[in-house]
Symmetry: C2
Subunit: 351 residues, 2 copies
């Protein structure tokens, strides 16, 4: 009877209005529960009747007559106590519970943060609706991190329940095509910059040698910065107040990376390039080395900052940070890279 009442109570008062948030699939609806005022023996009898329908007895919850969550008790306490003890005496406080309307990602973060086995789900009157178990959380975490990874590569849509091999080609196509098209159209801007700087490229055609490198280095550093920031965000580390810290950190890093990479490329240019007798068109090797290194350093510094700021900015305007990541950043810094490279070399080489 207890069991029947539970289920009825559930569908009338509980689960249905909340399915949007802590999803029905990811909430094990049956919590092991006993009512305040029972003895250990009564509690064991109630649980025994119910034992096949409750997924886990790792935590047993105590509720009052209205079904409000009052405390918890361990099965081990019941097992090791005399049968006439009142469950109220064995009750421990419930430190954490979660509202059914909370986002499932937040539930997962609570789990990993506090090393929990079970998390009770309550409604706004603190009535116990059910529990989330650790294997619900494993599923949520796996879904969420797959989604993050996919979004960062410009793969659209919800992570499908099906596996890679079982997903039909047309579904893969639909998830990958939209971003590719948008990015391809955006990438024409980089080409437009190249067309505009035709005269610079034509006057010293050697500039073509380092152009792809400077552009790609921006994509790589920007991608690294975005990855670190997005991951820190999805592990719940970066609150809104951390923006300044992130900016300082990535700006310093960008400068450091830029100076060192620029220095390496200057050395390579100065000592190794002459061996290949390149077409210099009237400029000196050292002037070319200087121009290319300055452009590279500037590109890396701006790209690192862009990569870190874009996800933070996306979140600030309620966009998903992972969606605007790697490919969008690459496209953006491709354009800035072209402009930085041609502007810097033009100025330094007086073209």
């Amino acid at each position: 009877l207890e069991c029947y009442c539970d289920v009825a109570h559930f569908f009338i008062n509980g689960v249905l209005p909340y399915q949007v948030a802590v999803d029905a699939v990811n909430m094990t609806t049956q919590a092991a529960k006993v009512t305040l005022g029972m003895t250990v023996k009564q509690a064991l009898d109630v649980l025994r009747k119910d034992k096949n329908s409750t997924e886990s007895l790792a935590r047993i919850y105590l509720v009052d007559e209205e079904g409000r969550l009052k405390g918890k008790i361990r099965l081990r306490e019941l097992a090791f106590s005399a049968w006439d003890v009142l469950v109220d005496e064995l009750m421990e406080e419930v430190e954490l519970s979660i509202l059914a309307t909370t986002d499932q990602e937040e539930a997962a973060q609570m789990f990993t943060k506090y090393d929990m086995t079970l998390l009770p789900v309550v409604d706004e009157y603190s009535r116990l609706l059910g529990v989330i178990t650790h294997d619900d959380i494993l599923e949520i975490l796996e879904e969420e991190s797959t989604e993050d990874i996919e979004k960062m590569s410009g793969i659209a849509g919800e992570q499908s329940e099906e596996s890679y091999l079982n997903t039909r080609i047309i579904t893969h196509f639909k998830r990958r095509f939209p971003w590719l098209l948008v990015l391809a159209l955006l990438a024409i801007s980089s080409g437009y910059v190249m067309l505009r700087f035709e005269h610079v490229l034509n006057s010293v055609y050697l500039l073509a040698l380092y152009l792809p490198m400077v552009v790609a280095a921006g994509g790589n550093t920007g991608g690294q910065a975005a990855t670190m920031v997005i991951r820190a965000m999805s592990l719940g580390e970066l609150e809104a107040g951390s923006t300044v810290k992130v900016i300082i950190k990535e700006l310093s890093l960008g400068l450091l990376l830029g100076v060192f990479l620029g220095g390496c490329i200057a050395l390579v240019t100065f000592f190794i390039l002459p061996v290949f007798d390149p077409p210099l068109a009237g400029i000196t090797i050292s002037a070319f080395a200087l121009a290319a290194s300055v452009a590279l350093a500037a590109q890396i510094t701006t790209s690192t900052l862009t990569g870190a700021l874009l996800p933070l900015g996306a979140r600030a305007i309620n966009l998903d940070p992972a969606v605007v990541a790697a490919p969008a950043i690459t496209t953006l810094v491709d354009i800035s890279g072209m402009i930085i490279y041609f502007t810097a070399t033009k100025a330094i080489l007086s073209l």
Copy 2:
């Protein structure tokens, strides 16, 4: 005493030689265990003495006198049974256990696959060494997916225990710099291709307009394919035998994506480009549209296949698939993209 013996047994016979694999940090060494032949009352007494030192009583393991794992029993069975019943009668079979020498990632996969709470860890004589709990697994999973994500962005080294904000700038620098330098040096090859095809670019400078787009589209499709394959591999989906299936799938997808993207770009070129009155240098808009689209389609098809094959190939020679991913693929398809673009346009436009 039971407790003391356990710990001693542990350090003498058990944990130390195995720490390399199922890491000491990630194995909760204390399993709740009772010996065959005990009564329920004896078992409860043993567990009661031990109850603060065992992290979880969700599964109690039965061992013989040599400590070999023989079966398991639920605390609920003990709690609901008469005190003189032998634990042997309540014993259930242990379906799954894991050798201490197994990789922790494999342990995590078993957990998610079979929805487990606890996984017993045994040595090669099937002696029970300890258990892995679900929160050990949460940590492993979080570490592993962070590592995958980071490697895919060319971030070197083990995922640090510290968080993003607490990691020092010099540590961030050391993890990001090596890949950036290697990739920058490799990217000079793309520039070399550009230099080599100077005459093609100079004869129809309009070709510069779509060059970055064709190159970048390869990076994006290759990155998507690599992401899907790496994620499927790290979720344990792709066995060695799946290689052919993956090749067929990604080849079809590459062709499909290439044809559709090429088609879109041809339409854009044919209908929109003339509005901007571009410098045509003696070729027709339709010839340019055809050449650019064919090059784009070829680049996307080969990049998709490259993106899928590189992680599979890496695994085949025992390299970590995630390490060779996104940035390495981008660099590779940057070079192939330059070659494909110039070769295709040169041939189609008879330059």
